[in-house]
């Protein structure tokens, strides 16, 4: 583990047992998160963004199994034997996770109990995990509410979740996520359900707080505008794989993978009114029987014979920029990638 890496994941695979067969949701992915950075995870829905992060958190559906070569969090490693069975894995993860990893979901109500006051929900974990008295915990809750920009926190602590708007609830979740000054926050589409004006406020809040408290953030989103304005580095996922990774500038200015290029083309054109959009044809692969080769092969304009047969190896462009595509192989016919912009 490199010095400044807070999370390191090697060879993570997640399968789900279903009536139709095994869903290969995440297939042998590796990534790392550095202290204090904001990492974006972008990709088609169903590409494994949530599942990969939930398994790192030890939150997995009952029909899921995890395997990995290595998961290291904050210098603590999880042993191979810990992956035997869901129970032991979750237990290990929960103890490793402790107070130092938090999660923010798309729908704040999955996290808030509608029948308990916001104040109680905020102070409970503080009381459980620290030696603070009730009064001190309440003071800390007021501090957190102020930090996330909720006006008159003293009175609002005694209110119930339904008395808050969607944006305010998401702020409360962020306040809860911050209560323990976590080293890593995983945010799963935290602004997808919010209006743009509220989204802007929540994103600014996440950015500012991550800076102030030095927390690393993994931001799962499908909105390229959100990643561009928030993230330092970006992983692009497709069909259970990370197909490209790079800094914000590498991904947006020198994308390599045809899926990344396709995504950027989809959002670039609306800016130019007089041009037709360039969509990516087709739809994502069925993860019950994922392709043996490149997951993008059915939708890729540059696909070659090899792409269907073998998973492309990773090509390294810089310390930070990597992409898995056969076009980078010296043997690829030149001109096949002519559509690349």
């Amino acid at each position: 583990m490199e010095q400044n890496e807070i999370l390191k994941v090697n060879g993570l695979t997640v399968d789900f047992a279903t009536e139709q067969g095994t869903v290969h949701a995440v297939r042998d992915i590796s990534f790392a998160v550095r202290e204090g950075e904001i990492l974006g995870v972008v990709g088609e829905s169903g590409s494994g963004k949530s599942v990969s992060m939930y398994s790192v958190m030890g939150l997995l559906a009952d029909n899921g199994t995890v395997t990995a070569e290595k998961i290291e969090f904050d210098g603590q490693s999880i042993n191979a034997s810990d992956y035997d069975g869901k129970r032991s894995y979750e237990k290990t993860m929960q103890s490793v996770r402790g107070n130092t990893m938090s999660m923010i979901f798309q729908d704040p109500m999955t996290f808030l109990n509608p029948t308990i006051t916001i104040g109680k929900q905020l102070t409970e974990p503080i009381l459980n995990h620290t030696k603070l008295t009730k009064g001190q915990a309440r003071a800390r809750a007021v501090e957190l509410m102020t930090l996330v920009g909720i006006p008159s926190p003293e009175t609002r602590l005694d209110q119930y979740p339904f008395e808050f708007s969607g944006g305010m609830r998401q702020r409360i979740i962020i306040a809860m996520a911050l209560a323990m000054s976590p080293k890593l926050i995983i945010a799963d589409e935290p602004t997808t359900a919010l209006d743009v004006t509220i989204q802007a406020q929540v994103l600014d809040l996440i950015k500012e707080l991550s800076k102030k408290m030095g927390s690393a953030v993994i931001m799962i989103t499908h909105d390229l505008g959100v990643v561009a304005s928030l993230c330092d580095r970006i992983n692009i996922m497709y069909g259970g794989k990370i197909v490209e990774t790079g800094t914000d500038k590498e991904i947006f200015y020198t994308p390599n993978h045809p899926y990344t290029k396709g995504l950027l083309a989809c959002i670039k054109n609306p800016e130019e009114n007089d041009k037709d959009l360039v969509p990516i044809p087709g739809s994502p692969p069925d993860l019950l029987k994922p392709p043996a080769g490149c997951p993008f092969v059915d939708r890729c304009e540059s696909a070659m014979k090899i792409c269907k047969l073998k998973m492309p190896p990773e090509t390294v462009f810089s310390d930070t920029h990597k992409s898995a595509c056969w076009l980078n192989d010296a043997r690829a016919e030149k001109g096949v990638n002519a559509h690349a912009r």
Binding site: D195, V196, G225, K249, F252, C266, P270, P279, I280
Partner: protein, 333 residues
Amino acid sequence: MPANIVKDEVVLKVDHLKTYFDATKGLFAKKQTVKAVDDVSFEIYKGETFGLVGESGCGKSTLGRTIVKIYEPTAGSIEINGRDIAGIKGDELKSFRKDIQYIFQDPYASLDPRMTVGEIIKEPMKIHGIYKTEEEMDARVSQLLRTVGLKPDHIRRYPHEFSGGQRQRISIARTLALDPKFIICDEPISALDVSIQAQIINLLEQIQRELDISYLFIAHDLSMVKHISHRIAVMYLGQIVELGESHEVYTNPMHPYSQALLSAVPVPDPVKGKEKERIMLQGELPSPIDPPSGCPFRTRCPYAMERCAGERPQMKMYGSRQVACFKVEEENS
């Protein structure tokens, strides 16, 4: 690319429309009214896409649903092709129901899971009795499936066998089954992946070019709305506060609310996106049960003046733009 439009042919005319809901809680409670649409006027031309944007709860869907007669207007009028829809009955109502269609946001909820794709698309044809034989209907279904980019042999499959984008194509095929003249698209791409959104937008544009259909396109993704629309209206708390050519409104919004809304759109560029200055709105969206007096935006507007609380600003023309704001009025007088 949006199709060319014929400006002198008005398809839809909405005039001082109000749709209020009764929100009174109990028998002895004080009467409360949600002013979901509160005095809205605009026209849509033949072959035009008219974009409607604004935060959730501002009344976009209520406006769309009032136009298709799901809701009764509280006041004002709606004319389709010059005909007031308030009093229409019988055959005229039937042909109205045929000419105006509605596409919903959620392609999962709007298709009956127990029906095959063929049955789903045929249902409106049967209700309106436009074809006599099954063969004629089958032929039309195949043609429609091809129009929306699906295969004719999909006709016997069920909705769950399709992806989100494909399901939205099925609902578009169903919508087209009756040769409508006007389609209300209520956030038709919000639930779809970015790569699929572009497919649906292209499809809607292609259909418009071929069939000369007009769209009322409701959305909260402003860059896509701008791409597909000829003109855009910005709504706030039940009112239209700005209306103009889509490119002009997008690049140079005049109303303080439009300015804030557009400044909040994240830019998909790592340098510009991180540098972008945002106009942060203070406070929360007021309740439509008890909207502010005067200008609806005054509780959050950085430029609010005394006058803004006393009277409601009316829509005024500035070139090709209409804006309802006293500040804009004063700056341009």
